[in-house]
């Protein structure tokens, strides 16, 4: 028996941007693994570095203003994507690691038909004939439950609803049977009933094709519904990792707990009560504090927190990684 190994290992990923206000580090020393067939969530509020993390993995960041630190590693199939050349990336992107984005209209090309866009991926990454590719395109549309795929394949993106466009994106992403699907807020722009359709579809396809999913979202409800493991980010840092149960039932970082508490609970009859809040806002990347990045908003902050940033280390009891001097559940 072979021990399972992660298909993707991200080690000490640090991604910075040159801006008018100097260099800002959007993702700071982030490490995580993706295991075959799992759903990994990356959660956090806007601006905490989720998208930059996923775009670093895909190497889709602006060429001249962004940089990945030399010590960062993104290991996939024996290649370090962090420092791979564009030719290598092109053979991996779309074929072995595929990505879907938040706004399906902007990521589909409006002047080409759905079929043409599916064909583009198939032409590049498979050796199928033209006829074979068209059949495969229709088959993919059927797989993502688009009604009348024979007809839809020749339609343009604007002729489809938002939910259907997201399905087409998923079809394109999955047509080469990638090992990993990176989904950055795939349902955020959609209504809840359409979101439910897409989440259901993604779970279904994951089971059928055994694709690992890296799901990036700010919606903890979505995470609870579909993910196995969770990474919580705050201001460019990973602050806690765990299984979805661990994160929801025994959060260790004060931010994770506060975030969970601040969501209105469905059906819990807390109607009319004030919500627990996190005072203040996320610090700006060009003005990060010396110490813990959550210090200004943290109810548990002590003197040490302002002076010294905690490392991400195993919790004294649970051994689950947390970045806090005074984590919860100490007894």
């Amino acid at each position: 028996m072979t021990t399972p190994t992660p298909i993707l290992r991200v080690e000490n990923l640090t991604t910075s941007f040159r801006t008018d206000d100097g260099v800002v580090t959007a993702v700071d020393d982030v490490s995580f693994n993706v295991w075959p067939g799992e759903s990994l969530a990356i959660v956090g509020e806007s601006g905490c570095g989720k998208t930059v993390t996923s775009k670093s993995v895909m190497r889709l960041l602006p060429e001249y203003t962004s940089m990945i630190a030399p010590e960062s590693k993104i290991l996939f199939g024996g290649v370090d994507l962090a420092h791979a050349d564009e030719r290598t990336m092109r053979s991996i992107r779309g074929a072995k690691i595929a990505m879907i984005f938040q706004e399906p209209m902007t990521s589909l090309n409006p002047v080409f038909t759905v079929g043409w866009q599916l064909d583009e991926a198939l032409r590049y990454h498979t050796s199928l004939s033209r006829k074979g590719r068209r059949e495969r395109a229709i088959e993919m549309l059927r797989l993502v439950e688009i009604p009348n795929p024979e007809q839809r394949v020749d339609e343009y993106p604007h002729q489809l609803s938002g939910g259907m466009r997201q399905r087409v994106m998923i079809a394109i992403a999955l047509c080469c049977e990638p090992d990993i699907l990176v989904a950055d807020e795939p349902t955020t722009a959609l209504d809840v009933t359409i979101q439910a359709q897409i989440l259901h579809l993604m779970e279904d396809l994951k089971k059928k094709l055994n694709t690992a999913v890296m799901l990036i979202t700010h919606d903890l409800g979505v995470v609870a519904q579909v993910c196995d493991r969770v990474i919580v980010m705050y201001a460019g840092r990973v602050i806690e990792k765990g299984t979805v149960r661990e994160i929801f039932h025994s959060p260790q970082h004060p931010y994770t707990k506060a975030l969970l508490d601040s969501i209105p609970k469905a059906g819990r009859r807390e109607h009319g009560k004030r919500l627990p809040t996190i005072e203040g806002i996320v610090p700006s990347l060009d003005d990060l504090p010396e110490g813990c990045r959550f210090e200004a908003r943290c109810p548990l902050a002590e003197k040490r927190c302002a002076d010294e940033e905690p490392d991400i280390v195993p919790h004294a009891f649970t051994e689950r990684p947390v970045r806090c001097h005074f984590p919860l559940n100490q007894t």
């Binding site: 209504d191 009933t193 975030l259 969501i263 005072e279 806002i281």
Partner: protein, 320 residues
């Protein structure tokens, strides 16, 4: 006492097309909606994108004119009032918009934004305008010394507070809050919801609270209207919504909302298809194309919104 009574509100937007730009049809945005809001009450409106929530909110305060229907505000029918007769009502009815980024004039400082309306409506004597603005800023949790800044210098949550301050500047008694927290992160969303709850209690405001998020509606509102394709399909007390919702669409909305609990091993309710276009709504019940309970009658006739139990109205043939 009802502060507001809306009777049979209808709004059809003309759609133009073709080379001659003739009217080729109409969007049925709001289709005969009636309800009341009591003084001091928060009435929620929930439904998916395009179902007519914002249109309804704007119709009530006459930011847009209705196709037909009446709005009785504190005993006066206001849809027929002329400009001058409408002015006092304009002061009393305010709106907070969804998008804190685009709803504030970027060229005006916060001070200028707030001053405009206060001076126009002579809310306080000129000598007290500045102190009124300071008080407003403090009330919504902003530092009065920041009032000479421009909107872009504030964060999303702070901008939404400015939007709320602007709505409160005229001492209104009714506010339409159109998705006031939808564009905000959860932790900021909680801050703004708490602020609105405090202000409502302190100032005795009446609110129409629009949201596509049932969790937020449940938390914040007393009663809720569920809209679909321009119709109210269910109206009920918010506390009852989990046990008592009867309309198949309300139940689908509840079931499609992920719960923040990984142990709740619940499959999401998955409705087939999309919301039909309001340009060509289906015949009969608006929900007929997606409803799991559909029967033949549903294709023929629109079910009326009828009271099933006290305060609970449902529009569905399948509900006894």
């Amino acid at each position: 006492m009802s502060l507001i009574r809306v009777d049979n509100m209808v709004k059809h937007f003309p759609v133009r097309g073709g080379v001659l730009n003739r009217i080729v049809g109409k969007v049925h945005a709001v289709n005969g909606v009636s309800f009341r809001i009591d003084e001091g009450e928060v009435l929620g409106v929930v439904g998916e994108s395009g179902c007519g929530k914002s249109t309804l909110g704007k119709l009530i305060i006459r930011l847009i004119e209705s196709t037909s229907g009446e709005v009785h505000y504190d005993g006066t029918e206001i849809t027929h009032l002329g400009h001058n007769d409408m002015l006092p009502f304009r002061r009393r009815m305010q709106i907070v918009f969804q998008d804190p980024y685009s709803s504030l004039n970027p060229r005006l400082t916060v001070n200028a934004l707030l001053k405009e309306a206060i001076v126009f409506h002579s809310i306080v004597p000129p000598s007290e305008v500045e102190s009124h603005i300071d008080k407003l800023m403090a009330k919504v949790g902003l530092r009065p010394d920041q009032k000479n800044r421009f909107p872009h210098e504030f964060s999303g949550g702070q901008r939404q507070r400015i939007g709320i301050a602007r709505a409160l500047a005229l001492n209104p008694d009714f506010i339409v809050a159109d998705e006031p927290v939808s564009a905000l992160d959860v932790s900021i969303q909680a801050q703004v919801l708490n602020l609105m709850m405090d202000l409502k209690d302190e100032l005795g405001l009446t609110l129409l609270f629009i949201s596509h998020d049932l969790k937020v509606i449940e938390h914040f509102c007393d009663r809720v209207l569920v809209m679909y394709l321009g119709y109210v399909v269910e109206e009920m007390n918010c506390l009852d919504i989990h046990g008592e919702a009867r309309h198949p669409y309300t139940q689908a909305l509840l079931g499609a909302n992920p719960v923040n609990d990984p142990d709740e091993d619940r499959e999401l309710t998955v409705l087939e298809g999309d919301v039909p276009s309001p340009f060509s709504p289906p015949k009969g019940c608006p929900f007929v194309t997606r409803c799991p309970l559909v029967e033949s009658r549903c294709h023929e006739e629109m079910p009326p919104l009828v009271e099933k139990t006290k305060g609970h109205r449902v529009a569905c043939w399948a509900v006894e």
